[in-house]
């Protein structure tokens, strides 16, 4: 029996308390129809993840299949431009082109151990959908990916990849027809298929234990950064760590092993869309209030009546009206600084990185790059930026800007 005194433990930056709370945010606000599946996960995820044979299988796939560790690259020309020492964590070089594969492999291996034969996922930019479809192909599991109709249009190459990998892509036609509604549809599918299905959530959102589980799978990013930075600079700790935040999975991953290092400044960059006050934005910490979305209490963009509003970002992966409860806590406690970048700023920074370093970043990661203009950097400062994905999927958008 869980004593109520556990509630006194408010959770830490890295780990929620027993009810899934990071400070005031988190929990599991789910209908009874999801209880059995979520409870099954909650009871088993820690034991399964830290089982020796699981770790062996997981780490071996990360190394030999994904290509980890991903390089930590000292970007000389960008560093010179911003008069700082900028290191890029190259998650774009992972198999399937983004950090999403770290979590997809972890969760599908876990689902396998729970005896689930059918995998469902939601996707925004398509990177999480592609990663999940990839792992399902590898493991011979059925895969269904829910994707907003609007995102299917703007991320066509990823839709094609998922189909080639054998996944069924189901268009989410309700509401704003983007990531929020794809997530609703995936949750409904899980309710309707309670026996054989595991829902692979792609970000640090959803009911407990998802935010914690996804953060743990993504924490490999900062685990590697500490070692790589030590090898390259003689110190494990940078001065700043910068990442973009939609739901917040790459940020959770690159922040994770620095959360309890007070000397490291953490910077999260949200999508401002056409501008914070334009009514076309996805900057949740600027525009959101405490609410419940997709099973957890967090910051949510909503009307005063509690209806979730349709966000906007040029980047499908950041086009989400909430953030994970861990990030809401980092924001509220002041542990992380939250900045935002507009569509145009992200586009310019993407072009800048491409021309200075020969790396075409994903539009999501370009938001993190855009924050370099807003930081007061010094030339003795070491900054690590999570280059969460590559930009192949965004070429259509980039080409329109170049014209």
């Amino acid at each position: 029996m869980i004593s109520k005194s556990f509630r006194l433990n408010k959770g830490t930056y890295t780990q929620p308390n027993i009810f899934g709370y990071y400070g005031n945010f988190g929990g599991a606000f789910i209908p009874e129809m999801l209880h059995r599946n979520v409870e099954e996960l909650r009871e088993n995820y820690i034991n399964i993840i830290y089982d020796h044979s699981f770790q062996e299988e997981y780490k071996s796939l990360l190394k030999n299949y994904v290509g980890r560790p991903s390089p930590l690259y000292f970007a000389k020309r960008i560093s010179a431009h911003y008069r700082s020492k900028i290191y890029l964590k190259r998650e774009d070089l992972n198999h399937t082109g983004a950090h999403k594969i770290n979590n997809a492999i972890g969760q599908v291996l876990l689902a396998n151990r729970l005896g689930k034969r059918r995998i469902i996922a939601e996707t925004g930019a398509g990177q999480h959908g592609v990663a999940t479809a990839t792992v399902c192909a590898l493991m011979g599991l059925e895969c269904v990916v829910f994707m907003g109709v609007k995102d299917i249009e703007r991320q066509a190459p990823n839709v094609a990849r998922m189909r080639m990998l054998g996944a069924t892509v189901v268009p989410a036609t309700s509401g704003s027809q983007t990531l929020k509604d794809a997530t609703n549809e995936a949750i409904r599918d899980w309710i309707n298929n309670p026996d054989d299905t595991h829902y692979v959530i792609g970000s640090v959102v959803g009911p407990h234990p998802y935010p914690d589980m996804v953060a743990r799978f993504q924490s490999i990013i900062s685990e590697e950064v500490r070692q790589q930075l030590f090898e390259q600079t003689g110190s494990e700790l940078p001065n700043l760590v910068v990442a973009c935040v939609g739901g917040g999975s790459n940020a959770a991953g690159i922040f994770y092993h620095f959360l309890d290092e007070p000397s490291v400044e953490l910077v999260a960059v949200e999508a401002a869309g056409l501008g914070i006050r334009s009514g076309k934005s996805a900057a949740t910490t600027k525009l959101g209030t405490t609410g419940i979305l997709h099973g957890s209490k967090s910051l949510v963009m909503q009307t005063e009546d509690g209806q979730v509003v349709e966000p906007h970002s040029i980047s499908a992966g950041l086009d989400y009206p909430g953030i994970g409860p861990m990030h809401a806590h980092l924001f509220e406690s002041g542990r992380a600084k939250f900045l935002s970048a507009t569509d145009d700023e992200a586009l310019q920074s993407a072009l800048e990185l491409t021309r200075l370093e020969g790396i075409i970043p994903a539009l999501e990661s370009a938001h993190a790059l855009a924050a370099l203009n807003q930081l007061q950097l010094r030339d003795d400062q070491v900054l690590v930026l999570c280059l969460s994905g590559r930009g192949d999927k965004d070429l259509d958008t980039y080409m329109k800007t170049l014209k």
Partner: protein, 255 residues
């Protein structure tokens, strides 16, 4: 004992509870639909508060909610519409909604307001057990509202007993783990409700999710105390421009 308790005291079986979304098809449809339901023989009303992201509902109820929101329905408007409804409506009436719009309005303020208007109870599918015990239960009790938990065929016995102990009015038995508005095979419902009955629960049992016509209503109501119909009624309302006529036709086809 409140109106819900009285209903189950008076009537032991074939109780018909009807769900509809407030503000659909028109902003002002709320009261006319309630009157029609009373006139054509419903036993209980579940008044849905529209929400943009109703996870436990299917496309029909979500679409009705989106339409209601577009029509301008909000909690303050709904409370306004319900002012004085008890002079005309005697049926036990619950409100069903998701937690977010209610906590934005203010949970205590909400309970106080609906209790003052004569609403009898609440169903909030995404209010979990832990949070209920931690915070919400006291407020719900303070304003003498019934609170109905959902249970499913996958809910284990010990949890069933716990949810039954915390529910008042009735227990909402979801006929299989499913969102609203899905077709069901009702053969398994019989075994499920029998199992529930054997647990000697303190609350009456209403079966919901997938009940849509005379056949499914009678099989759901055969073993339980009654059944809840939502999607099929909302569908009917959406197809007609006269809510009273739509209600009459619907009720004729279900009893």
């Amino acid at each position: 004992m409140g109106r819900i308790g009285n209903l189950f005291e008076r009537k032991k079986d074939s109780i018909l509870s009807i769900y509809f979304t407030a503000g659909f098809p028109e902003l002002t449809s709320t009261l006319p639909i309630m009157k029609a339901l009373q006139k054509f023989g419903a036993d209980m009303i579940e008044l849905g508060i529209p929400y943009s992201d109703p996870l436990a509902d299917g496309p029909v109820i979500q679409a009705s909610g989106s339409k209601a929101i577009a029509n301008g329905m909000t909690i303050p408007k709904l409370l306004d519409q319900l002012r004085g409804f008890r002079t005309e409506i005697g049926l036990p009436t619950l409100m069903m909604g998701y937690l977010n719009p209610i906590i934005q309005f203010g949970f205590e303020k909400f309970c106080k307001a609906i209790s003052g208007l004569g609403i009898d109870g609440l169903i909030i599918p995404d209010l979990p057990l832990h949070e209920f015990e931690e915070y919400f239960e006291t407020l719900i009790k303070k304003f003498e509202l019934d609170f109905v938990f959902l249970v499913t065929p996958e809910t284990p016995d010990n949890r069933l007993l716990k949810l039954d102990g915390l529910s008042s009015g009735f227990l909402y038995a979801v006929s299989s783990s499913s969102i609203t508005g899905r077709d069901k095979n009702f053969d398994s419902v019989e075994n499920y409700v029998k199992r529930l009955k054997e647990l000697k629960l303190r609350n009456p049992i209403m079966v919901g999710f997938g009940v849509k016509d005379r056949e499914t209503f009678s099989s759901a109501a055969k073993y339980a105390n009654g059944a809840i119909v939502g999607t099929a009624f909302v569908n009917q309302l959406g197809k007609s421009d006269n809510v009273e006529e739509a209600t009459r036709v619907f009720m004729q086809n279900i009893r």
